[in-house]
């Protein structure tokens, strides 16, 4: 080819068409590419113009990152809610106007604030200082109208507890940084601040009306008896829901103040452990009946003092000895229960106490939970078995007691306490047989009808229960202080079909009579009178639990009811 002379290329007839075809093909591809690019651009423009890209969330949740979920009681009453509050701050470097003038104006708007403190904030050398942490919206507006750039209004999250001190230990409170510091607020910090769930209120098992009744009656009695403190629990026996949990003295969660550890911040119902005394006798009798160490309710127990080791167990009110099993509970006999506990032995006693949750921390979601004090394993001898039998040498919280009583009266099924509303059945474990539970219900009713708990008998509501008076330990010494008592009542109503357990406790009452029946009996009666109609328990003058099976096993008093209380 290289040697060939140049000549006209040979044009075959099909060449032109071929070249044309190739050119058109390339053109088409180019046009397609360009138009596709243009279409994509146009489409994107339309998308941006019409649909504005991804949807933006500018709801309240984004507006306030500190928001927490509301707390509500079981009926939808708001117990805690969040909103934005105003804080007033000074940024002295940005202040343009006359500082004296600013101080004067601010003092006029905030009359409750010390002018010296305002002056200090306005004149200080730093970059930022709070003048007031909480101001009212009207005040904020007035300050905004001043138009001073160096005085700024900050938006801060605020937790409001509309019922002030009601259920303060139950609900808890939040600190200045908006984090939960106690109670439900602390236990459910993650749930309350979770962005996915914080629009839904957290529904508690509390009933605000029951809580109010319990707190006010306890408070009244605490003042009357000049007591150190008081605690109370109302619980649903079938679900374990805590309807009310009171600990007095209380605080206002809106202004918690102080530090954790102050007497008012100590939750006596779940954190404080106490030797609750005779209220344990019901458990010991139930254990004895359940295991079969006592089979005959008519079996008689002597009330003579028992000597064991260094201790002597004796009864405070000796009666015509010997007494039957129901009488042991009615007259609250230490020796009778001690003998039953002795027959029971350590193994079984410990097993039952563990089943009733007495060996663990208090049940429930709240984090302020006390560890119970039980005899040490290496020293749980006969003396301990006997004293634990009537509630000494073992310290538990009132919530422990309420949960265990619920298991005792509801047919024998233990369900740990819960602070959240329960829908449907809750699983539980059987501790006592139904028969034992039924017998104990009758005996507890007798103890109120005719025993130490006569003052707790709310007419028509068939209250049953057991009082407990225990001496407190001496401070800094061995032994017990006879002048300082813990008085407790643990019971349930209505006894023919127990629905609610109530535990009331008053710590160190003063006065001539410091027995539980006298101190907390009336509290229980008043509380039951107030809460039973609210909870849908109808009173009845004719209905009552059948106590005929104890016929002949106890001697009724000549005058029954409260009139017979000395």
């Amino acid at each position: 080819m290289a040697t060939a002379t140049p000549r006209q290329p040979i044009r075959l007839p099909g060449h032109r068409q071929m070249a044309l075809g190739v050119a058109r093909q390339r053109l088409a591809i180019g046009i397609l590419a360009v138009s596709a690019f243009t279409l994509i651009l146009g489409g994107r423009l339309v998308e941006l113009a019409v649909f504005d890209g991804a949807p933006r969330h500018n709801g309240a949740a984004v507006a306030s990152p500190f928001r927490r979920a509301e707390l509500q009681d079981r009926n939808g009453v708001t117990l805690a809610s969040s909103f934005e509050a105003y804080a007033l701050a000074a940024r002295p470097r940005d202040i343009m106007g006359n500082r004296e003038e600013i101080v004067r104006k601010l003092s006029a708007i905030l009359p409750e604030r010390d002018p010296a403190l305002i002056r200090q904030a306005v004149f200080h050398k730093g970059r930022f200082r709070y003048i007031a942490r909480r101001i009212l919206p009207e005040q904020a507006e007035a300050i905004r109208r001043m138009g001073e750039p160096g005085i700024t209004i900050e938006r801060e999250p605020e937790r409001l507890y509309p019922h002030t001190g009601l259920g303060a230990h139950y609900i808890g409170y939040t600190g200045i940084d908006g984090r939960g510091e106690a109670g439900i607020e602390r236990a459910f910090e993650d749930r309350l601040t979770d962005p996915a769930q914080r629009d839904k209120p957290l529904v508690l098992s509390m009933d605000a009306r029951v809580q109010q009744a319990l707190e006010s009656e306890l408070d009244k009695r605490m003042v009357e008896t000049e007591a150190l403190g008081a605690a109370g629990v109302v619980m649903d026996v079938h679900t374990g829901e805590v309807l009310a949990l009171a600990s007095l003295p209380a605080f206002d969660p809106n202004r918690p103040g102080g530090v954790v550890g102050m007497p008012s911040h100590m939750n006596r119902a779940t954190l404080g452990v106490y030797e609750l005394g005779s209220t344990f006798k019901a458990f010991t009798i139930a254990m004895a009946l359940d295991t079969g160490v006592v089979t005959d309710l008519g079996e008689r127990f002597s009330m003579a003092p028992i000597r064991v080791g260094n201790h002597t167990i004796r009864d405070l009110h000796p009666r015509a000895s010997p007494i039957t099993v129901p009488e042991v509970l009615i007259y609250s006999s230490n020796t009778g229960t001690a003998k039953m506990a002795e027959r029971l032995g350590r193994e079984r006693q410990e097993f039952f106490l563990r089943q009733l949750g007495m060996m663990d921390k208090a049940p429930g979601e709240i984090l302020e939970k006390g560890r119970t004090l039980t005899p040490p394993p290496h020293n749980w001898g006969l003396a301990s078995v006997m004293t634990v039998g009537f509630g000494h040498g073992i310290a538990v919280t009132p919530l422990h007691l309420a949960t265990a009583y619920a298991a005792l009266v509801n047919g024998g099924i233990y369900r740990p306490a819960t602070f959240l509303k329960v829908t449907g059945e809750r699983p539980g474990r059987r501790v006592f047989t139904e028969k034992t539970s039924h017998i104990l219900n009758g005996m507890l009713r007798l103890a109120v009808l005719d025993g130490t708990g006569r003052r707790a008998d709310a007419f028509g509501y068939r209250v049953g229960g057991k009082t407990g008076t225990a001496e407190k330990k001496l401070i800094g010494a061995r032994g017990y202080d006879h002048r300082r008592n813990i008085t407790t009542f643990a019971g349930a109503f209505p006894m023919d079909d127990p629905r609610y357990v109530i535990v009331t406790m008053i710590d160190e009452p003063h006065g001539a009579n410091r027995q539980a029946g006298y101190v907390v009996g009336p509290v229980t009666k008043n509380v039951v009178n107030r809460i039973a109609p609210v909870l849908g328990v109808a009173p009845s003058e004719t209905k009552d639990i059948d106590v005929s099976e104890f016929e002949g096993l106890w001697k009724p008093r000549a005058v029954r009811g409260e009139a017979s209380v000395r």
């Binding site: 032109r16 044309l20 002030t164 605000a208 109609p533 009173p539």
Partner: protein, 273 residues
């Protein structure tokens, strides 16, 4: 797009350059027309798109404004709710009740268990013992304070025995309510003018009750005016307490009214002795 047409036209000019020149000229004119169309369509599209986009933006601003307004309203509602809840907080209700209303829980006596007991409810009427002596009972202890006590007047001719006059109130006593404030004078005593006393009387609000007091005293001081011609026994009795009302109805002016009634009672009591 015009250059595309030219290029494609040029592609076909392998053997006819002359014809190609005329083709180019005519194609150029056509291209210009097409370009003009394209420019016009583009401008029209641009204006249309822009106006749409402006309208969309306006709509969106409107929505944003509404959302903001909603949030404002929401927070207002929240604030008002919070205020309401704080005002009706449980401890406050308790304080009101302790200081003013004095409502007490319902007692078991106030419940009827069955239709049978409801049927038997009124049959105990004759069992109520008629008071044989004159007495005055005040019942305004805080525990049993009633919301709005009404005082009723009943006047009976002398031949009517106190028994029938009182049987109404006997029903009330049996109904479980504490004894009503009842001031009565026995008929035989009433026949002697000097023994006629009290008196009072009203079913009216506090202001009128207080106005009726001097009248009552006057009647007590000068009984002859009413008693000489036809001796009358005048009963003043509180209305029966209705359990449901005692719980549900808030008191209208309890403190004042109670004081009035109390003073009335005192007058009556002093008149007795």
């Amino acid at each position: 797009m015009a250059w595309l047409n030219i290029a494609s036209a040029g592609g076909g000019s392998w053997s006819a350059p002359l014809q190609m020149a005329t083709d180019v000229r005519s194609t150029g004119r056509r291209g210009w027309v097409i370009s003009a169309w394209l420019v016009m369509i583009t401008i029209a599209l641009a204006i249309a798109s822009y106006s749409i986009s402006v309208r969309v933006a306006a709509e969106k601003r409107q929505v944003a404004r509404l959302t903001a307004a909603n949030h404002g309203l929401e927070s207002d509602i929240k604030a008002l709710n919070a205020e309401l809840r704080v005002r009706m907080r449980m401890p406050q209700l308790q304080r009101w009740n302790d200081e003013t209303f004095g409502l007490t829980p319902i007692s078991a006596h106030q419940y009827l268990e069955s239709p049978d007991s409801l049927g038997a409810y009124g049959n105990e009427l004759p069992a109520a013992a008629p008071p044989r002596v004159t007495y005055a009972v005040r019942d305004i202890s805080p525990a049993s304070r009633q919301p709005a006590p009404r005082v009723m007047m009943a006047s009976t001719p002398p031949e009517v025995t106190p028994r029938s006059g009182v049987s109404e109130t006997g029903t009330q006593a049996r109904a479980g309510a504490p004894r009503p404030a009842l001031i009565t004078a026995s008929a035989n005593k009433a026949t002697s003018p000097s023994a006629t006393r009290l008196v009072a009387v009203s079913n009216r609000p506090a202001a009128e009750a207080s106005r009726s007091r001097p009248a009552a005293e006057a009647a007590g001081n000068r009984p002859a005016a009413t008693a000489v011609g036809q001796p009358r026994v005048v009963l003043a009795a509180a209305t029966p307490r209705q359990p449901a009302a005692a719980i549900d109805r808030p008191a209208e002016a309890p403190a004042d009214l109670l004081r009035q009634v109390a003073m009335l009672g005192d007058d009556a009591a002093t008149a007795e002795h």
